[in-house]
């Protein structure tokens, strides 16, 4: 276990240095700089020049890069040029809404997708299986923003059951958080349940072809027990990778949904930072998202080890 953790930590450092270097130069390749974005398009060139000087944008690129790496080493992500304050607290303040949204949607999606898939696998030709299979195809095909707009129109505007948009902290205002999160979570679940269910179904079908199940059945186990005890745990391994990748993507910020539902998460922050060329925020969000992605992959690997003795031994 320890060597694995050390290897992963080493990988994390390498990935973060590569990501930090790449994003540092990528944002500076894009024309336009923070001075133009802050001053606004009505500003004169003299005003922009004065601001560039103040923001330290005139320093040589190599010096800015070294200062950036040096800052990272001591946990300093730089100063946001838009908000004129340290970038890290701003990024960390945007992290909880994204975490809450992504984790809630993922946990609930798994909770719905697994029993649904098991039920359909038990009766592959049944009514439930036919409905789920067709619904999954629709749910994967329909874009999330469309579902979001339609659900908002119905539940928020017409029925006035839920707020149109907003966010509340689930720890200080749990009821408010449920009301605000209901629509975005449902929108994410519609797609995720379908994706998880389709993947798990493929795995289950593949697993059902293995010969060891004949032994299980020969022991006199009922089909339901064979499925739940033997098939699903083995079929869950590939699905876990899909869940992990999906969660990583959601943690990177659900830009469109965060914009539609006015959720102050990482996606909204990054979207705005790109428009205002806020280098410190863009770099910081990218690095933190990359770190989370590596961490999630690590957790998926650990989960593999616990779930599959073969992985543990190898």
């Amino acid at each position: 276990m320890l060597p694995l953790i050390l290897r992963r930590l080493r990988d994390l450092v390498i990935v973060l240095i590569l990501v930090a270097t790449a994003i540092f130069f990528i944002v500076r390749i894009i024309p336009g700089d923070p001075a133009i974005a802050i001053a606004g398009d009505q500003a004169t060139q003299a005003q922009i020049d004065a601001l560039r000087q103040t923001l330290g944008l005139e320093a040589p690129l190599w010096l800015q890069y070294l200062q950036f790496l040096g800052g990272l080493a001591i946990g300093d992500f730089g100063t946001s040029t838009t908000f004129n304050s340290p970038a890290l607290p701003i990024i960390l303040a945007s992290l909880p809404p994204t975490l809450v949204l992504a984790l809630t949607a993922t946990v609930l999606s798994v909770a719905v997708a697994v029993p649904l898939t098991v039920a359909t696998a038990l009766h592959p030709g049944g009514l439930l299986a036919r409905v789920v299979n067709r619904t999954n195809a629709v749910a994967v095909a329909v874009p999330e923003f469309w579902i979001a707009l339609i659900l908002t129109l119905f539940f928020a505007v017409r029925l006035r059951l839920l707020p149109v948009s907003g966010y509340a902290d689930p720890f200080s205002d749990p009821l408010g958080a449920i009301r605000f999160l209901a629509l975005p979570v449902i929108v994410l679940m519609i797609n995720q349940v379908a994706v998880f269910s389709l993947n798990l179904r493929e795995s289950v079908i593949g697993e059902m072809l293995h010969l060891y199940l004949r032994t299980a059945r020969a022991k006199g186990l009922r089909e339901r027990v064979v499925l739940v005890r033997h098939v699903v745990p083995n079929a869950a391994l590939p699905a876990m990778t899909v869940v992990g990748l999906n969660l990583g993507t959601l943690l990177g910020g659900v830009v469109v949904l965060e914009t539609i539902f006015v959720i102050p998460g990482l996606g909204s922050l990054l979207n705005q930072a790109v428009g205002t060329r806020d280098y410190a925020i863009i770099q910081g969000v990218t690095i933190i998202v990359a770190a989370m992605f590596v961490l999630i992959n690590f957790l998926v690997d650990l989960a593999y080890m616990f779930a599959d003795p073969k992985v543990r031994v190898s």
Binding site: I30, P31, G32, D33, I36, A37, I38, A39, G40, D41, Q42, A43, T44, Q45, A46, Q47, A50, L51, Q53, T54, L55, S80, T82, F83, N84, S85, I90, A93, S94, R134, A137, V138, A141, V142, W146, L149, I150, T152, L153, F154, A156, V157, R158, R160, P163, V164, S165, G166, T259, I260, F261, V262, P264, S268, L269, Q272, G275, T276, R277, D278
Partner: protein, 530 residues
């Protein structure tokens, strides 16, 4: 899986989507005729108004940021020495009385007594001196004034003296800019030239900052120590300010449908939605929809770099003849009542800056004559460098089509605003034409950026310089109006850039909000009915 099954699934998906759209569309609120509102006669103290803005400017510092959203919030917190009234005339705000020397070179300002900042400290002349010096060093208008200011001094704690090197008729209007706001001298010192951070947003306005969550919200609450002026009828940014509302909440909402849904359900009371939503919102009886004051002047910016096609006056005149201004206005999607069919560089409601001189040239439209003039100028290619947002993208399409229609080859590059600005600056000879709009509520002609030699268009003219000098030397409003008329006539004679039309944004407000007069998003003197 067979192709047939794929196709069947796709058909099912599309059919379900269409059916669901129809079902939910049927559930949408019915559109009724607008109902007449009954204004409540007496202002009501209390309540919190929620306002949506399309982006977070990151600061309320109007000196550093020229963005409109910065100003919408900033004017509630900060005040200047003077303020523009509803007719865009400068009126004293933090100044009690002022005196101008006979030669027009010295302004002696006496500050109002009893004015305090939000941190409880009293307004002193030293605060004004520090704030003005920062304004002169950082702001676009300040940088225009700076060369003519020889000193700003404070002979005593309530007197400020501004000494000029040459008369400047528009000085009071320029000092009435919200960007020339006054803050404590200690804040000026701490900020350097950077945008003020949240803890430095200390002004003298009727509302003070209580919370600023970047990218999410700005909350203002009534400043109980505010001392209002007495004048009730000046309007605009000037005169008496009554903070009837307990607070103002600004929420940053960029998605148009979310803005509209929030207005409809009462989640917020004030918004400036896009043109696309005007008809729907106008039909909602729970809302009032009206054009905002001032408006913007939409402009085709012409590059005067020697490598540009429009360095030639024939080419500039040709383009003016070619452009169908009505088609460009229609392409924006704005309702007719939001459009101003005028080539003036100021909004018609901005009386001191508006002139109809040259409207006949603005109205010209003759593509065949344009083709001949372009040929005469030797122009067969036009390079467009335009922002990729609306309405610029729509205008670009129309202009591209019109140029192509007379055989001009068009090279169109479209980027976000920051990229356009950077490209235009760093590669000055790489483009011929761009698009922008300017504030129709400008207070001096020198604020028109495309007439400034430092702007990306790089326009310079001795004649224009002398006209601007004549404006600055004006002795009174009549002389200034005559000078404005001459500058406007010159603009349509020389065509440094081309005004294509004027337009107004509009506000959509809840019928529960009373006292709101559509001057920017000013919310003092407004109140919420139960």
């Amino acid at each position: 899986m067979s192709i047939t099954r794929h196709r069947r699934r796709a058909v099912v998906a599309i059919a379900t989507a269409v059916a669901a759209t129809l079902v939910f569309a049927a559930c949408a609120p019915a559109v009724d005729a607008p109902g007449a509102s009954t204004p409540s006669a007496e202002p009501v103290q209390g309540g919190i108004a929620t306002v949506t803005l399309n982006s977070d400017p990151g600061t309320l510092d109007m000196s550093v940021s020229s963005l409109q959203v910065t100003q919408f919030m900033g004017v509630e917190v900060f005040e200047s020495l003077f303020a523009l009234d509803a007719t865009y005339t400068p009126r004293p705000m933090l100044v009690d009385a002022y005196d101008t020397s006979a030669d027009g070179l010295t302004y002696t300002l006496t500050l109002r007594q009893g004015v305090t900042f939000h941190d409880g400290t009293a307004l002193q002349a030293a605060d004004v001196v520090a704030s003005l010096q920062r304004f002169l060093a950082t702001n676009a208008i300040g940088l225009l004034i700076a060369p003519t200011v020889s000193s700003v001094s404070a002979p005593d704690s309530s007197t400020v003296v501004i000494a000029l090197t040459a008369p400047r008729y528009g000085l009071l209007s320029e000092l009435a800019s919200p960007a020339a706001f006054i803050m404590p001298a200690a804040v000026v010192e701490a900020s350097g030239g950077k945008a003020l951070s949240a803890d430095q947003l200390i002004g003298t306005g009727p509302y003070e900052l209580t919370d600023y969550v970047p990218g999410q919200k700005v909350d203002l609450t009534r400043f109980d120590g505010y001392v209002s002026r007495a004048e009730q009828d000046w309007g605009g940014y000037a005169g008496a300010k009554h903070a009837y509302l307990d607070g103002i909440q600004y929420r940053f909402v960029s998605e148009d449908s979310t803005v509209v849904n929030g207005l409809t359900t009462g989640q917020w009371q004030v918004s400036m939605p896009s043109n696309d939503q005007y008809a729907v919102l106008s039909a909602d009886p729970s809302l009032r929809v009206a054009p905002a004051s001032g408006g913007v002047v939409n402009t085709v910016v012409l590059n005067h770099d020697p490598a540009s096609a429009f360095a030639s006056i024939d080419a500039r005149r040709a383009l003016n003849l070619l452009l169908d201004k009505k088609a460009l206005a229609a392409a924006s999607g704005a309702a007719g009542e939001l459009l101003v069919d005028s080539g003036a560089f100021a909004s018609p409601d901005n009386a001191p800056m508006y002139s109809d001189a040259g409207e006949d040239v603005y109205a010209e439209h003759d593509p065949e004559a344009a083709r001949r003039l372009f040929a005469q100028a030797g122009v067969d290619t036009v390079r467009m460098l335009v922002p990729n947002t609306q309405p610029f993208a729509a205008w670009a399409t129309v202009i591209q089509d019109e140029l192509s229609g007379i055989g001009i080859d068009v090279q169109l590059e479209s980027f976000d605003t920051a990229t356009v600005r950077a490209t235009a600056t760093q590669k000055p000879g790489s483009w011929d034409l761009s698009l922008t709009f300017i504030n129709g509520a400008l207070s001096t002609p020198s604020q028109i950026n495309w007439l400034q030699s430092g702007y990306i268009a790089k326009y310079r003219s001795d004649r224009l310089d002398s006209l601007m000098s004549a404006y600055n030397a004006s002795a009174d409003a009549d002389a200034a109006a005559a000078a404005v008329k001459e500058i406007q006539a010159f603009v349509w004679d020389e065509i440094p850039s081309i005004v294509i039309y004027g337009s107004h944004q509009y506000t959509a407000t809840s019928t529960k909000l009373e006292g709101f007069d559509n001057f920017a998003l000013v919310l003092w003197n407004s109140w919420l009915t139960p």
